[in-house]
Symmetry: C2
Subunit: 72 residues, 2 copies
DNA sequence: TTTTAAAGTGCATTATATGGCTCTTTTGTA
DNA sequence: TACAAAAGAGCCATATAATGCACTTTAAAA
């Protein structure tokens, strides 16, 4: 699934800030169980949930125009 | 809700490309009913649904680091 | 090692997103 | 105006996201 990269962003940012899943769950208002699911590669988060997590980590969920440059 | 801006992106892009809701629904695989809901300001789309719509429109769902005014 | 905090999982319940069908409202055009 | 296409909304069945609780696994420190 595509949101894997979104979750990766969450996880990387969380770890960069040295915040535990539990703390992030508390700060964001997202259930710990839910956050664990995402970071272990499962689930299909809603925009609201992604926003909550993003807000707590200083990340903003956006649509970017895909520039058809080369590959990655 | 925050995903309003995401939906706005979808809608603006769709209209810019002169694609109807129905066509976008077909192209993206998202139900027409669901797309209508979003564009009329309701609902809480999942990452998967946002991705489907984004893919059909050349938009990519990403997390951006929030820069408060000046930073690098 | 042993201990312990953090992370991951199974199960059950509740809340809600999805999507088809149908009808109404809005909008653009002749 | 009138008409047709597009957009919006109500109803509702189904699928699944969110969540808590209890348990297991992992990893890092003592």
């Amino acid at each position: 699934m595509h949101f894997k990269s979104l979750i990766r962003s969450i996880k990387e940012r969380r770890e960069m800030l040295q915040v535990t899943q539990e703390t992030l769950a508390d700060l964001s208002g997202v259930g710990l169980r839910t956050l664990k699911q995402f970071e272990s590669g499962k689930g299909n988060p809603t925009a609201e949930t992604l926003n909550k997590l993003g807000n707590a980590l200083g990340l903003e969920l956006t649509f970017q125009v895909k520039t058809t440059t080369a590959e990655e």
